[in-house]
């Protein structure tokens, strides 16, 4: 009997499918579909959620806190290293320190490994401080100077590398760690396992209400921004943008993620447990189980041909980046990749013995 939660599989599938389509579209056609900015926050939020469920399962199996921390740190460092390898081989050496989502999730796992036993209220405070401090750091660093051409560029100096990691990269620690911590805390509310009791947690609808409240706060900040004083409007807020991840954007996406997880747990998990829609949930499970592999492979599949073609035609690998083909074709290719992924993974992937997830387990566990 599987212990997977269909709601999490479904949300992670939404995240990975969105990211694949957005990346194909943006990198091949320079077109940002309407769903841009949905996948990554959800993915990061679910990394915290999954970490709670994974570590809680180890606690239930009587693994010591020390052992859990060691495996967690190994996994975090694996992802952090994988993020550098990914940047090196996919985004090419000059972008090795662009701080992608893998380095963020790796950092988040290491952080959660040490903060797992910290009271939840403190984690909430850390998440809030991260969200509030991030715009200040961006202001101090001069965020726009790192994004003059519409993408992140920095010098290979220690200070620029650290500034990029903390505040100005693609997925800087602040404020993105907020989502991972919030995912962990939300999961601990929803799925807490009490000694001697069942797996009952907080009322999902209450969590959903908190999520909707955050969405409302985000909307209110967006509406109020034109009427606020300059330092607040320009410094602490910034409108709805993912680069930089503004306070409104992160708050809104956090609310969406929390509400989605809570509603999913309340309404989707019972359906999956009853055995209905088994086919659809099976597809979601496949995408969810291999989300890390799909994340890496889809970049390789659409960027390497682009780099090779650009290098052969013009001598510059990125010559055709964002202008290789029309948006429709790029989206179609993205869809085709997802279908091919599903067919391949369903055919040979049921044993979960290959892919980056299996490699991580083999190296770290």
């Amino acid at each position: 009997m599987t212990t997977r939660l269909a709601s999490i599989d479904l949300l992670r599938t939404i995240a990975i499918v969105t990211m694949v389509l957005v990346h194909f579209s943006e990198n091949l056609a320079g077109y940002a579909p309407p769903l841009s900015g949905l996948g990554a926050p959800l993915f990061v939020f679910l990394s915290g959620t999954s970490y709670f469920l994974w570590s809680d399962g180890l606690v239930a199996r009587d693994l010591s806190d020390d052992a859990i921390a060691r495996v967690s740190v190994r996994r975090g460092l694996f992802l952090f290293g994988a993020g550098f390898a990914f940047n090196l081989f996919v985004w090419l050496p000059e972008d090795i320190f662009n701080w992608d989502v893998l380095t963020l999730i790796g950092s988040a796992l290491v952080m959660l490994a040490f903060m797992r036993r910290v009271p939840r209220e403190v984690l909430v405070l850390v998440a809030a401080v991260s969200l509030l401090v991030a715009p200040i750091l961006r202001g101090m660093a001069g965020y726009a100077e790192y994004w003059e051409n519409g993408y992140f560029e920095s010098d290979l100096t220690l200070s620029d590398v650290l500034v990029g990691y903390l505040a100005t990269g693609y997925f800087p620690l602040l404020p993105w760690i907020t989502l991972s911590l919030a995912g962990y805390v939300t999961a601990s509310w929803l799925f807490s396992r009490r000694t001697g009791g069942g797996g009952s947690g907080a009322d999902p609808l209450r969590i959903a209400a908190i999520g909707m409240g955050l969405v409302a706060v985000s909307a209110a900040l967006l509406l109020a921004r034109p009427f606020l004083a300059g330092p607040v409007a320009a410094g602490m807020l910034g409108g709805w943008t993912m680069f930089p991840p503004t306070t409104e954007y992160v708050t809104g996406m956090l609310g969406v993620a929390m509400a989605s997880l809570a509603f999913g747990h309340r309404f989707v998990d019972p359906i999956a447990a009853s055995g209905r829609l088994a086919g659809a949930f099976g597809v979601a499970r496949t995408f969810s189980q291999y989300s890390l592999t799909i994340y890496v492979v889809h970049h390789v599949v659409h960027l390497w041909p682009l780099w090779i073609y650009g290098l052969r035609e013009t001598g510059e690998p990125t010559a055709h980046w964002m202008r290789a083909m029309p948006a429709g074709m790029a989206l179609a290719l993205g869809g085709g990749f997802l279908v091919a992924c599903l067919l391949v993974l369903r055919t040979i992937g049921s044993r979960r013995s290959f892919g980056f997830e299996a490699l991580m387990r083999w190296v770290c566990d």
Binding site: V118, L137, M140, A141, G142, L162, V163, L166, G196
Partner: protein, 257 residues
């Protein structure tokens, strides 16, 4: 107490199916009407001198004993006869002594009933105690959700202990001198029912439960107090870390040009 003149005039035993009928002079009343299920008691009073106990009375008692209420036994005092079982009691005595004996029987039966209830509750609580005992030594974050459960169990144990304490003066009282008919009946019945020994055993058991849950409560209380302090300390640490981050970042940003 509810009295009913011969509410049950006949019936069949579980063993043989034979029909019996209570004598016309017998009166049956219910004691402990508030008791749930098997803890209620019916008392049959039959005035007069009885050289032999009517078979119907035996059958009436046996009918309850056969149904699993527990074994019955006879006692005889100064021309009075008492047949006692946990759910039925027959008192055959001269009319002038009937009420005295009836009161003594009801009092001791009440103690027995209390003891039986406490013994049942304690017996059922041992598995819970095994689960909860580790919390008497160490309370941790994931145990916080069990505080309500532990509080309820402590409350329940204290209630049981209080019930034992309330009957203690009567159960542990020394025999009255000079003895009266009522005191003799009560003493003999207490002896047959091993009331004193059972009370002592139940008290010892209840003390174990009370001590364990008392320690659990102490550990939980200590943990919650420390937890509040730790939270405050953590919050100060986080804010200081944020301050340090801002200082460090300012330095980095300046160094980066």
């Amino acid at each position: 107490m509810h009295e009913d003149a011969r509410p049950e005039v006949g019936g069949s035993t579980a063993r043989g199916g034979s029909i019996w009928a209570l004598p016309a002079t017998a009166t049956v009343e219910r004691a402990f009407d508030d008791a749930p299920n098997q803890d209620g008691m019916e008392i049959l009073s039959m005035p007069g001198e009885h050289a032999e106990v009517p078979a119907a009375v035996d059958a009436w008692i046996d009918a309850a004993s056969d149904s699993g209420a527990g074994p019955a036994f006879w006692m005889a005092f100064q021309g009075s006869r008492i047949r006692w079982s946990p759910s039925r009691c027959a008192i055959l005595a001269p009319a002038e002594r009937l009420e005295t004996i009836r009161r003594a029987v009801i009092e001791v039966s009440g103690h027995d009933r209390t003891l039986r209830q406490v013994e049942r509750a304690l017996a059922a609580a041992w598995p819970e105690l095994d689960t909860d005992a580790p919390l008497a030594f160490e309370f941790e974050e994931r145990s916080v959700g069990r505080r309500d459960e532990l509080r309820d169990r402590l409350k329940r144990v204290l209630h049981l202990r209080a019930r034992l304490a309330r009957i203690a003066p009567a159960v542990l009282a020394p025999p009255i001198y000079p003895p009266t008919l009522a005191s003799q009946v009560a003493d003999r019945l207490r002896e047959r029912l091993r009331i004193v020994a059972r009370h002592e055993a139940a008290s010892i058991q209840a003390d174990v439960f009370r001590d364990t849950y008392d320690m659990c409560g102490q550990r939980a209380s200590d943990f919650m107090l420390a937890r509040t302090g730790h939270r405050l300390e953590w919050m100060i640490i986080v804010l200081l870390a944020a301050q340090l981050l801002l200082w460090g970042f300012e330095y980095l940003a300046t160094a980066g040009g």
